[in-house]
């Protein structure tokens, strides 16, 4: 018995799934989206958005006493419960907004857990029982979940990123296992809120996937904020407020485990469908189609980079593909941002990644605007192809540099050459001038360095 039929069924209402559903609805396709939680997925509920709210609150709190510039204030206090309530308000507003957008696009939202019965039929188990939905096209957008450590299972003082975003008291001491961007973002925020933070990383340095030139200012800042970073260290167990590692004991009222995220392919019947996998991820082609006709996959389940904006772009493309439009994945660049302190942005090729490219960087210490905000740590770097001076990559590290991610991506996606960026007037005084200066430097025509 099938209880419901539709043209497009989207499993998961995260950034990938809800965008796919909205676009499909806009294109007049009869669309259903299923999610066991509220619309918005990890990103809106327990990821990008709430963590940025917490980071902002921590920055504001920290600035009062550590801002310098002649500003003096008596010891500030923070009611983290109130901060979290403010954050929850933002989350509610955004998830409510997504629900409204889905409705406006004519998409039905079915709460519950989806499981494939066959390639065209999905059973949704919700509070009110089970419903079978048969769809012509299925889009798997089930996302990812935090990886758990066997000896430090989530629960009690052992926190996942989700748990950390729900704390109502600042822990006295916090050990963060894993110096990826999630661990560093949250660890830094709690350090600024007053926690004694120790980062425990198994690799030899923080943010292993980024080059040292980008991570060095972050390391320095962590050091100056009293955050202890243990590299090449392995966490072993936690008991009575102490975390044992192979490099000794660490005080840790709470332990935040951020050692990566795994795709949510288990439990939704992906195994039974025998879709071709790529490691733990679902293999997709240029149009996000899986090995089975009519089944698409987008977002974190399809592998790295696990980024909301990539999933959104895939979701939009998939909806248009189902509607018969001639689309394919031809993006030149998926920018990535670490909201560490200072922030890191990477877009496109790194130095040395593509043969025949060169790179040039411009330090923020030579940028007027950076000096006026008392944040001269950082730089902007441009990678270009020698043959035609086409810009192949732009990376940067600096306070507030995340807002420049779009400039970087736009330049690469539009096919800009160094000459184009160098010849574009960049408003003064802004940090963005550093990109123009890096391009001038690459052309051997530096003006300000």
């Amino acid at each position: 018995m099938t209880d419901r039929t539709c043209k497009v069924l989207v499993i998961g209402a995260g950034p990938g799934g809800y965008v796919a559903a909205i676009r499909a609805g806009q294109l007049g396709l009869d669309t259903v989206v299923v999610d066991e939680g509220r619309p918005g997925g990890t990103c809106l509920n327990v990821g990008c958005i709430p963590s940025k709210a917490l980071i902002h609150a921590a920055d504001e709190f920290h600035r009062i006493t550590h801002g310098g510039l002649g500003i003096k204030a008596s010891a500030p206090e923070i009611d983290l419960g109130e901060t979290m309530a403010w954050k929850d308000g933002i989350v509610n507003r955004l998830t409510g907004g997504v629900a409204g957008l889905l409705k406006k696009a004519g998409v039905a939202f079915v709460p519950g857990r989806a499981r494939f019965l066959d390639g065209k039929t999905v059973a949704v188990t919700g509070d009110s029982g089970e419903e079978k939905i048969r769809a012509e096209y299925v889009v798997i957008a089930s996302g990812s979940a935090p990886v758990e450590l066997p000896d430090l299972a989530f629960g009690g003082p052992i926190l996942s990123s989700t748990d950390a975003l729900a704390l109502t008291d600042v822990p006295k001491s916090l050990a963060v296992i894993g110096a990826g961007y999630i661990g560093l973002e949250l660890g830094t925020a709690f350090a600024k809120l007053g926690a004694h933070v120790t980062i425990v990383e198994a690799q030899n340095r923080i943010l292993e996937s980024y080059d040292a030139a980008l991570t060095h200012p972050v390391s320095k800042r962590l050091e100056s904020r009293g955050v202890k970073v243990m590299t090449g260290a392995k966490a072993q167990s936690h008991d009575k407020g102490k975390l044992q590692t192979d490099q000794g004991e660490v005080a840790a009222e709470k332990v935040l485990v951020t050692v990566g995220r795994r795709p949510r392919t288990l439990g939704i019947g992906v195994e039974e469908l025998a879709l071709t996998l790529d490691g733990p991820f679902i293999r997709i082609d240029q149009t996000c189609q899986t090995s089975m006709r009519g089944i698409y996959a987008i977002g974190d389940v399809t592998g790295p980079p696990m980024l909301a904006h990539r999933a959104m772009a895939q979701g939009e493309m998939v909806a248009e593909h189902i509607a018969g439009k001639p689309v394919e994945w031809d993006k030149r660049v998926v920018p990535a941002v670490c909201f560490t302190d200072p922030e890191i942005v990477v877009a496109g090729a790194s130095p040395g990644e593509i043969e025949g490219t060169k790179s040039a960087e411009y330090p923020l210490a030579a940028n007027g605007r950076a000096l006026t905000t008392a944040r001269e740590d950082g730089m902007v770097r441009v990678v270009w192809r020698e043959a035609d001076r086409a810009v192949m990559g732009i990376q940067a590290v600096g306070a507030g540099i995340s807002e420049m991610a779009a400039n970087f991506a736009l330049a690469i996606e539009m096919g800009a050459r160094l000459d184009d960026i160098a010849a574009t007037i960049h408003a003064h005084p802004t940090q963005a001038e550093a990109l123009q200066e890096a391009s001038l430097r690459a052309l051997d025509r530096s003006l300000h360095i």
Partner: protein
């Protein structure tokens, strides 16, 4: 932790060295016992070399294309127990990559040619804004074909409009951008083997090539009738099994054509067996699987064996034995077979029979032109050991047998 060196095993046939064709692992990879480490290539075939231990790759014994001596270190692994090497990794004892005199001179450094607009490297994605790319996809236009008028050859909406308006042909003010890219491709692996073999054959053997035309009507009728009769039960007959039969018959009268000439020792080996090599195109390049004892097989035996070997050659699952020991070779390009070709003999054999395309051509029968199915055979012979007279006799024999196919099956 110890260092374990895996040496290039003796892969048979008394060879002293093998070419490293492809690495399946890279430094830092974790490998398990029996995982494939590399593919090495001998004169005959590609062989996979598995790991004999679990470990982590430390060092590779050479780059693809390098010649490695049997017994030299192929790879070093870090293993959990004691290794088989006490010394830290040292310079791998490897043979110099191709010997100097054989090596192609290094390509001259590619100097950028001064152009007004530097062009993107060959094969790079065209520079164009997302909206231009989307429009091109909608219009079914491959942007790589579209000349861009912008800096660095960037393609604008106007460029795309002009391209579409011209029907995909550049006209008027729009000009094709000069492409100054140079792509360097190393000649390694199977391609190098082919190159060496072809050079050897062409350098050593003075070829004489004879082209003769054959009227194929009778044989084509017979072939169609046999295929119709045994449809679904037996392998489908192509022209090649008949030609193999004809070669068996013709070489019985002229055993000197079914031979291998060892020019160093000055001996011609004439064989009773007719092992016919069939030149076959594979994704890696030209390969010559051998139908053994074609003289003993029926038409269908040989057709079935041919199909099996051709498939094995294409998928790369063919064995060394199946690629060696030919006594004469057939080369056929099917419908691409042209009017005439000058086949190169598969050294050290002495003859090769080339099949050209079949087509209906007008033939003067004494009173009028008749449409006839005609096909040319272009055959080359080693003129050191085969005189023109004998070569011509052989070709005429093939022609007679194919034009009167009943004679293929009459003993005596």
């Amino acid at each position: 932790m110890g260092v374990f060196a895996i040496r290039l095993p003796d892969i048979g046939e008394g060879i002293a060295e093998a070419e490293l064709a492809e690495w399946k692992v890279k430094p830092g990879d974790i490998v398990r016992e029996d995982d494939i480490l590399a593919e090495v290539m001998t004169d005959k075939a590609t062989v996979e070399v598995p790991s004999t231990v679990d470990g982590t790759v430390l060092e590779l014994g050479g780059d693809p294309g390098a010649m490695l001596a049997i017994g030299s270190v192929l790879i070093r692994l870090a293993v959990s127990g004691d290794g088989n090497e006490s010394d830290p990794p040292r310079e791998a004892p490897k043979m110099p990559a191709p010997p100097k005199e054989d090596a192609a001179p290094p390509p001259p450094p590619t100097e950028p040619i001064e152009t007004v607009v530097p062009a993107r490297p060959n094969g790079a994605k065209p520079l164009a804004a997302p909206s231009v790319r989307a429009r091109a996809r909608e219009a079914g236009v491959d942007l790589r074909q579209v000349p861009g008028s912008g800096p660095g050859g960037r393609i604008s909406h106007d460029d795309l409009d002009a391209w579409v308006a011209s029907g995909g042909i550049t006209q008027g003010h729009v000009t094709r951008a000069p492409n100054t890219g140079v792509e360097d491709i190393r000649v390694i692996g199977m391609r190098r083997k082919i190159a060496e073999k072809m050079s050897l054959a062409k350098r050593q053997i003075p070829h004489i090539t004879i082209v003769e035309e054959v009227e194929m009507g009778a044989l084509e009728d017979l072939r169609a009738a046999l295929n119709a009769k045994h449809e679904g039960e037996r392998p489908k007959l192509t022209l090649l099994p008949f030609l193999m039969r004809a070669i068996v018959e013709a070489t019985r009268e002229q055993p000197g054509l079914n031979a291998r000439y060892d020019d160093e020792k000055g001996v011609i080996h004439r064989y009773g067996a007719v092992h016919i090599g069939i030149a076959t195109q594979t994704p890696q390049g030209l390969s010559v699987p051998v139908i053994r004892h074609a003289e003993a097989g029926s038409l269908w035996d040989n057709a079935g064996e041919l199909a099996r070997l051709a498939e094995a050659a294409r998928t790369g699952s063919i064995s060394r034995e199946e690629l060696t020991g030919g006594t004469i070779t057939i080369t056929s390009l099917g419908p691409l077979g042209a009017i005439a070709t000058t086949p190169i003999i598969n050294h050290p054999e002495v003859a090769i029979v080339g099949v050209n395309k079949m087509q209906v051509r007008p033939v003067w029968d004494g009173q009028q032109f008749q449409p006839r199915k005609m096909m040319n055979l272009s055959s080359s012979f080693d003129h050191r050991v085969i005189d023109g007279w004998d070569a011509a006799l052989f070709v005429q024999k093939l022609k007679t047998l194919l034009e009167t196919p009943a004679m293929l099956f009459v003993e005596g």
